[in-house]
């Protein structure tokens, strides 16, 4: 314990904690909507599509973050506009994502310089964050949460009941695009500090567990955020104490270890009840 408190004296650890916590909160909150909208694959694809933008920017000699930002937001708008039909959307996202990844590798092959900055985007390094990057990420996370707060009720309505939401004048398609843009902003800013793997872990893991544990949306979001923070803090503590295990591995493993028993043992309620109904139906 004292060893961990000792670690807080290092500025890079504090930066990592603050940034990691901010991203965890934003990712876990938007992850709830992502999971409920069955848009998990889109959430996975966005940072990968961003890789092409970053590589393209490096090739053109501009800051990778601009390319990353531009192409993820563009892809978010495109996915939002294309995809009403779920099956169709996943296939389209898959084809676009693989093309973007291919482009990214082409750009890297064409670029003869030092490509480490681009690889950093795919794998990230939470322990190497500058104060400036930490500030920008925290601001972006706060903005995303504020936007989600403004969109909250109509977004929830159109997530679960799009047919009726449309009839009640909710701009269902616009919300679909706006939500993916929020996701794109979180992705493109978080991915540089923690990498695509860790970001996606924080998007999907806490929310997937929370939706199984709690049914009321606001509570599910709170639980998701709490889990996200817990994973980041515990994961960093393990990694820091151990010294060789990467942070990404610790956080991803925690997320998996908590999800597994919840997935296997919680909420057989629905199935049991349906089983009962069938049984009585047969008796009658």
């Amino acid at each position: 314990m004292t060893a961990m408190l000792e670690l807080l004296r290092y500025p890079f650890i504090v930066n990592a904690l603050v940034t990691g916590s901010a991203v965890a909160v934003a990712a876990a909150a938007s992850g709830y909507f992502m999971v409920c909208r069955r848009a998990t694959f889109a959430g996975h694809a966005l940072p990968n599509i961003g890789f092409a933008g970053a590589a393209g920017a490096v090739l053109l000699g501009i800051e990778p973050v601009y390319g990353l930002f531009a192409i993820t937001v563009l892809a978010a708008v495109a996915i939002g506009l294309i995809g009403r039909d779920l099956r169709d959307r996943d296939v389209t996202v898959g084809v676009v994502m693989t093309f973007a990844l291919g482009l990214g590798f082409l750009f890297l092959a064409l670029y003869s310089g030092y490509a480490q900055r681009v690889y950093g985007i795919l794998f990230g390094s939470i322990l190497g964050i500058s104060v400036q990057a930490a500030r920008v990420t925290v601001a972006a996370a706060a903005t995303s949460i504020a936007v989600l707060g403004i969109l909250y009720r109509p977004l929830l309505f159109s997530t679960f009941d799009p047919e009726l939401a449309l009839a009640r004048g909710v701009p269902v398609s616009l919300l679909s695009v706006l939500f993916l843009v929020v996701l794109a902003i979180i992705s493109s800013l978080a991915v540089q500090v923690m990498g695509a793997l860790l970001l996606f872990t924080l998007l999907v893991g806490p929310a997937a567990t929370a939706t199984r544990l709690v049914k009321t949306p606001l509570w599910a979001i709170m639980v998701s955020v709490a889990l996200g923070l817990l994973y980041v803090w515990l994961g960093m503590a393990f990694a820091a104490v151990n010294g060789t295990i990467p942070v990404s591995f610790c956080i991803a493993s925690l997320s998996f270890i908590v999800y597994l028993p919840v997935r296997l043992f919680v909420r057989s309620e629905g199935r049991r009840r349906r089983g009962n109904t069938t049984a009585t139906g047969q008796l009658a």
Partner: protein
């Protein structure tokens, strides 16, 4: 088509007024000429063969489908403007299988799902939700997940959801689909009770008129792109329906039930 069936005697301010409505969807004409008016507080069944555009007509009333020609006004406004005063229960909804939400949260969408902002908890809003759950005998269902409930229980909750905005018009799309006889009667009784006690006009799409024949004030019969409206025993007749279909149709009444038979139905 006889005049009385097509043109109900004019009364002040009908809830819906549709005149000569023509709707094309995907290059096909769904309605060529549909004309009707719905009065305050009446219970009207929309009947007609498959593909006659029964569900489409509800979407026209909601302004979700735009007519090519003709006029539709709802609560004295063009269709689509007064949707806050319309309670709508669509058919085939993703939400019916939803297990990550409690029924109460689904019902709440009807109250303020369309408003911006997070919606801070309010006792007044919760009371309104309680009251409407009480009205449909759904208090004990509120905590269950939507996907765990039976078809009849879900239908009651979805009607509660539609009632939360205090509508003057209720549009129900096949609320009896996939219900067994007992549940069917329960839902019909609920709809009749709501219609009478709230004085709300109800437009009710159904594929079989028999379960609610005695409860309907009027029927709106759609066929062949046209419509006829009037009391059930005046509209569901050989003359009116043969004229509507443009082909010979027989109406058989037996054992208190009515059947429409014809070569092209």
């Amino acid at each position: 088509m006889s005049a009385p069936a097509l043109m109900p005697e004019p009364r002040p301010r009908p809830v819906i007024c549709a005149e000569g409505v023509r709707v094309d969807l995907g290059g096909q004409t769904i309605f060529a000429d549909v004309t009707f008016a719905i009065e305050d507080g009446e219970l009207v069944g929309i009947l007609g063969p498959n593909g006659a555009g029964k569900s489409t007509l509800l979407k026209v009333v909601l302004g979700l489908v735009k007519p090519v020609s003709g006029r539709v006004s709802v609560l004295d406004q063009p269709a689509g403007r007064a949707n806050a005063r319309i309670g709508y229960v669509p058919q085939f909804r993703a939400i019916e299988a939803e297990t990550t939400l409690r029924a109460r949260d689904v019902v709440r969408f009807g109250l303020d799902g369309n408003r911006w902002g997070p919606g801070w908890p309010s006792r007044a809003r919760e009371k309104r939700i309680d009251a409407v759950l009480e009205e449909v005998d759904g208090r004990e269902l509120a905590k269950a997940a939507m996907g765990e409930l039976s078809g009849g229980e879900r239908q009651r909750l979805l009607i509660a959801q539609a009632l939360l905005s205090g509508p003057r018009l209720l549009l129900l799309d096949e609320p009896l689909a996939s219900l067994d006889l007992g549940r069917e009667q329960e839902i019909i009784a609920l709809i009749r009770r709501v219609c009478r006690s709230r004085g709300v006009a109800v437009l009710f799409v159904t594929h079989d008129v028999n379960p609610l024949l005695s409860d309907l004030d009027r029927v709106l019969y759609l066929a062949n792109g046209r419509s006829a409206i009037g009391p059930p025993d005046e509209v569901i007749t050989r003359e009116i329906l043969s004229d509507l279909y443009g082909a010979p149709v027989e109406v058989v009444k037996t054992g208190g039930r009515v059947f429409v038979v014809g070569a092209r139905i």
